[in-house]
Symmetry: none
Subunit: 442 residues, 2 copies
């Protein structure tokens, strides 16, 4: 099995100014490809130390993946150092230069001179395209001459080891885009050594340890393996299988996946890239229903998540963030009497908001949230973290259906976390209703 090594370059990482999330992403991706990763090194913007790390890595690993140091400024040293290790001249890639210039031209800005540096690459290296940012990285498969320079020799049959360098910028979005578009496929082709295929089954409404307990008998399996992970107010079971091909690995994993799904019921909401909002979007589309939101304490978070799904304009027309009492009255028709009697944070107000936004928008479903996200504004009776949710659903004939939920999240969580958890619960309410209203009647 081929060995990869990750080298993160940047003084800001060693000073702790930036949390390194690239390493985890790359580690997961390498594991998915069935590539070993035995060392990960972080080094600052210093030529001598970078050279040292490059040589050490290439002597003990087959694949060197660098992150960072590809920017236009003087302390971006990665390309330069790689060229230096192998005595390779740096050449300007005219196509890359033209592309970088065009990006600036599109914004009506003259390209700063320093950016020309980002079009340089050592002779012999190929471009690793960057679909998102300014500058590409490189894929450099080292030839015998280069290998000899760092003391690596051919084996007894005259065969040279296959050693490759891939460079990525430190910006996580760019690194990810480049990985997915080009690097993953390249490594799969070049170092194919069996495959690890995995899927994550995502759960809402059950904790990580309860999930682990429920499927305890699966956690000791070797292949496929099953492991629980905590998420952001949801959790996941990862099922991974090793085999010679994706198809074989999937076949190995399938019985376990089926067992988990059957045993989970509605707590399993989807897999891998699914989110509560994407699942809700799919259900709304499939059932040709529309939804409108009236948010108070979540301030637009639920709307932002639902509209983040491409095509959401099919089921969303109008959402309102009614922060003040006046806005709740004026826009949603919540009565002054109700507000005076129960307050804005009350089950009564949640109901009036849900029905109000449904009426105003003309949508099938009205979802409301009203609560106290803190840090101030709580009282003994209505503490920070108290949230009421309401779901009003119009019917062809007769009264609309109405479902309510109360969350008591506690002050300790903080504003952001209270908002996030409320959004999770709100989206899940809609999901459960769309699967079957029964699930909300409990």
């Amino acid at each position: 099995m081929a060995k990869a090594e990750v080298l993160c370059i940047g003084t800001e990482l060693l000073l702790g100014d930036v949390l390194d999330t690239n390493s985890q992403y790359l580690a997961q991706q390498l594991a998915l490809l069935g590539l070993n990763c035995f060392y990960r090194v972080t080094v600052g913007d210093n030529v001598g130390r970078i050279l040292d790390c490059i040589v050490t890595a290439l002597r003990r690993s087959d694949i060197l993946i660098t992150s960072g140091g590809l920017g236009p400024t003087a302390d971006d040293l990665t390309t330069e150092c790689l060229a230096q290790v192998f005595n390779a001249p740096l050449e300007t890639d005219q196509q890359v230069l033209a592309f970088i210039e065009s990006l600036f031209a599109a914004r009506n800005i003259k390209m700063p001179k320093t950016n020309a540096k980002q079009a340089l690459r050592p002779r012999g290296a190929d471009i690793l395209p960057n679909p998102v940012g300014t500058a590409p990285g490189m894929i450099w498969r080292l030839g015998p001459e280069e290998l000899a320079l760092i003391g690596i020799e051919a084996d007894q049959s005259g065969q040279w080891p296959v050693k490759t360098i891939l460079t990525f910028p430190g910006v996580p979005r760019e690194l990810k885009g480049m990985w997915e578009e080009t690097a993953r496929g390249y490594l799969e082709k070049t170092y194919a050594g069996g495959t690890i295929w995995s899927t994550e089954l995502k759960h809402y409404g059950i904790g990580e340890s309860a999930l682990a307990e429920k499927f305890a008998h699966l956690l000791d399996l070797a292949n496929p393996s099953v492991a629980p992970y905590a998420g952001n107010w949801e959790c996941r079971l990862r099922v991974a299988a090793k085999a010679n091909s994706v198809v074989e690995a999937q076949a190995l994993a399938q019985p376990v996946i089926d067992e988990i799904k059957a045993g989970s019921g509605v707590t399993c909401y989807g897999h891998d890239g699914d989110t509560l909002e994407s699942v809700v979007g799919e259900l709304l589309s499939a059932q040709r229903l529309t939804i409108a939101l009236a948010e108070s304490c979540t301030g637009g978070l639920i709307s932002e998540r639902l509209t983040g799904i491409p095509g959401s304009s099919r089921y969303i027309m109008l959402n309102a963030v009614t922060y003040s009492a006046e806005a709740k009255q004026k826009l949603l028709g919540v009565s002054a009497e109700l507000l005076a009697a129960h307050g804005a944070v009350s089950p009564e107000c949640a109901k009036a908001m849900a029905e109000g936004i449904r009426a105003v928008s003309g949508c099938d479903i009205g979802l409301s949230v009203t609560g106290i996200a803190g840090p101030d504004g709580g009282s003994e009776e209505k503490p920070v973290g108290l949230v009421y949710l309401g779901l009003s659903v119009g019917q062809k004939t007769g009264e609309p259906l109405y479902f309510a939920r109360t969350l008591r999240l506690g002050k300790r969580l903080g504003r952001n976390e209270i908002r996030w958890r409320t959004a999770q619960e709100a989206l899940n309410m809609v999901r459960l209703y769309l699967i079957s209203p029964e699930h909300l009647s409990v």
Copy 2:
């Protein structure tokens, strides 16, 4: 200045199952102590590779800090490996053993045999107490015998270098507790060498390379040092100074900070924890102004960001996400004629939306966004990434002021990125207006 090296031990880190946050914490703490950190290495639970990393680190650094591998199971190898490097016998610390036993006794559980392992330490090492968890780490100041074993010699005057090993568990809470209670003080006493103080000046409206070019003369300074970093559609200049105390370091940095601020004008929007939304919130509060948003393609993102700031209910009453043409008409009073003549994605519609939401909400400022976030819905005339922004500001007497902006972000970015950049620009429009309307008239 003494050099420290961080070694994270654990296969789970190399597989990406766990996000390593200890490294960032340790990096920040080392910087605060004025200790250099030139390398950070992560290695799996493998004796040979751990030994290799320990020796390499101690040859090139004065302080080796390990995290992980102190648990009771067979793959917890840190203590054992350190003993092996220096040929030191492992001895049971009776006090630690009694303490671990007492923890189990308190929970009415018999201590599993494997836990006795956590009371072992190499002869010569001291205990690094763990105020939070089960097992302590060690502080091991290496003597001449141990140093000689890894090829380190005394200097010409017979002086041996001061080299110390500190081991921590991988659990962030325990590592932190041990650092704060014991390790920090020990390192300060043993390697006292001043402090690094730093601040980040955040910029919007100028790219990283343009910023670097503008302040090129500062980037070569040694103390304070200045370095540019890219952010998420914004960028930062980090100013760091080393001195004997925080006060001295700040004094060293201040002239450079002042120069950057003076030279940046309005592109510098804040520092460190500031965000565009927090700065807008502060300006609105200070000027006692209120704002209302009418969002289309951003779907609630700007509302979510502004309401994420504690106390935002002082200046936000009502925001609307008017996704459909009907919602724009009904809620904001955009006329059917305007929509028919110019379409929903037009400067005219942005203006009508901004004025509409200001009127409906009764707020001082109305901010609107209408555009095409994609991936579908674009045309040749109105491509994905085209966004119009509008800012309507009521005046005590006379007509309201109106400011417009157009963004052409291109399809390549993707939906999320188009939404994010639009939100950045929208928040910055409000910021510039609140500093002085002049900045928007250009």
